[in-house]
Amino acid sequence: MPKVRIPRKRIFIDMTAMCDVAFLLLNFLLLTSNFVKPEAVQVAAPSSISEIKMPETNILEVIVDADGKVFFGIDNQEERKELLMRFADQYGLSFSAKEIKEFSLVNSFGVPANKLKAFLDLPSDDKGLKENALGIPCDSLNNQFKDWVQFARKINPEMVIAIKADRKTPFPKIKRVMDTLRELRENRYHLITNLEEPPSDI
């Protein structure tokens, strides 16, 4: 008797279509999203119904954390270099080419002028550490924050000031920042918020 042989069928699924879909999605994500920039400090912004989008370039970002410490950052790397030069001139500091390069890679920072050099010499992984989040002095006697804003403004007058503060930041600290901006005659600025659903009945 001949053996009954069940013919073995190869299962072969054509994955080409699946592959197309995967890369299509990948393309879409790449084009629509922007990378999360590491920031000097994490803040939880309050929510508002305002729907104005943040401009993509020319932003001067001021971050105020829950303790009222001030952080500062601009988005253009070339402008960052120039900013550091001007700041160094004003405060009589000198930076090596490596430190200037390092500064241009820092998205936002919060260190007083005397700690700046040490901060730039740190390896980039340590820059985000809590003990380096000192805050830029912003009181009436020693207002380095004012100088930063002033110089950034001179380098690029088109810059938009955006304040990002934590929900729990006490009002006097915010007021201090706002007053500083007022002294510089910067009366238009943005407050960064999260989107909240507007009430439907109004």
């Binding site: 190869r10 072969f12 054509d14 994955m15 080409t16 699946m18 592959c19 995967a22 890369f23 999605l25 990948l26 994500l29 790449l30 629509t32 999203s33 922007n34 990378f35 999360v36 912004a45 309050p46 929510s47 508002s48 119904i49 305002s50 729907e51 104005i52 989008k53 943040m54 993509e56 105020v64 955006a162 990002k164 503060a165 934590d166 929900r167 729990k168 930041t169 006490p170 009002f171 006097p172 915010i174 007021k175 706002m178 901006l181 007022r182 002294e183 005659r185 009366n187 238009r188 600025y189 943005h190 407050l191 960064i192 918020t193 999260n194 989107l195 909240e196 507007p198 009430p199 109004i202």
Partner: protein
């Protein structure tokens, strides 16, 4: 893993080249694709942050004659207190008349209700405009223009926001938000003075105020 299915059923014939299927298994490629997708999903942010635009009064001294006078009937003063409390009074505080300070909350039935009532005419007009827009009888540009016009109403309340040192940033954003919700065009963040602080302490502990 990629396999090539050789079709060599039957006997090989001489002189004929072996026919090889050119099917390539795409499974690893798909794996790679989805891996990259996962990576980008985790490392990027899709939504841009929202912002709120504010224009602060400049610090320049303004001549008294040029100052805009707030009509007493329109003025509303909002004081932001600690622990998410709001105090408000209508009219202007003068030496002769102590304003009637009341307390409210950030909830929709608190300060929002109140401001909507004060701003009823403007809110109503804007609602009519919105209805027209919904019926496509008004273009978007025209709608915006009309809204600006409506907000210029002289009877609309003028809100002065004064924050105590105990208020948080969230309180400030919330109250600015309410201005937008209630269609109030004229508002300002003003420095708090001792008089207002005193009013709050009087409300918080009424006994101490009477003594």
């Amino acid at each position: 893993m990629s396999e090539i299915v050789a079709q060599n059923r039957g006997q090989k014939k001489k002189g004929r080249q072996k026919k090889l299927s050119t099917r390539v298994d795409f499974t690893p490629m798909v794996d790679l694709g989805f891996l990259l997708i996962t990576f980008f999903m985790l490392s990027t942010s899709l939504n841009k942050p929202q912002t709120m635009e504010i224009i602060m009064p400049s610090g320049d001294k303004v001549e008294e004659s040029e100052q805009t006078q707030v009509r007493e009937s329109n003025a509303v003063t909002i004081l932001l207190g600690k622990n998410d409390k709001i105090y408000y009074y209508f009219g202007l505080a003068t030496a002769e008349k102590t304003p009637d300070l009341k307390q409210t909350t950030y909830a929709p039935d608190g300060i929002r209700n109140l401001l909507l009532q004060r701003n009823a005419t403007v809110v109503q007009q804007i609602q009519q405009l919105k209805a027209l827009r919904a019926q496509k009888r008004l273009s978007e540009d025209e709608f915006k223009k009309q809204v600006v016009e409506v907000k210029k109403n002289k009877q609309a309340p003028v809100v002065m926001i004064k924050s105590t040192d105990d208020a948080s940033y969230e309180n400030l954003v919330d109250i600015l938000d309410e201005m937008q919700i209630c269609n109030i065009a004229r508002y300002a963040i003003v420095d708090i003075n001792d008089y207002d602080k005193e009013l709050i302490t009087n409300v918080e502990n009424p006994d101490a105020g009477q003594q």
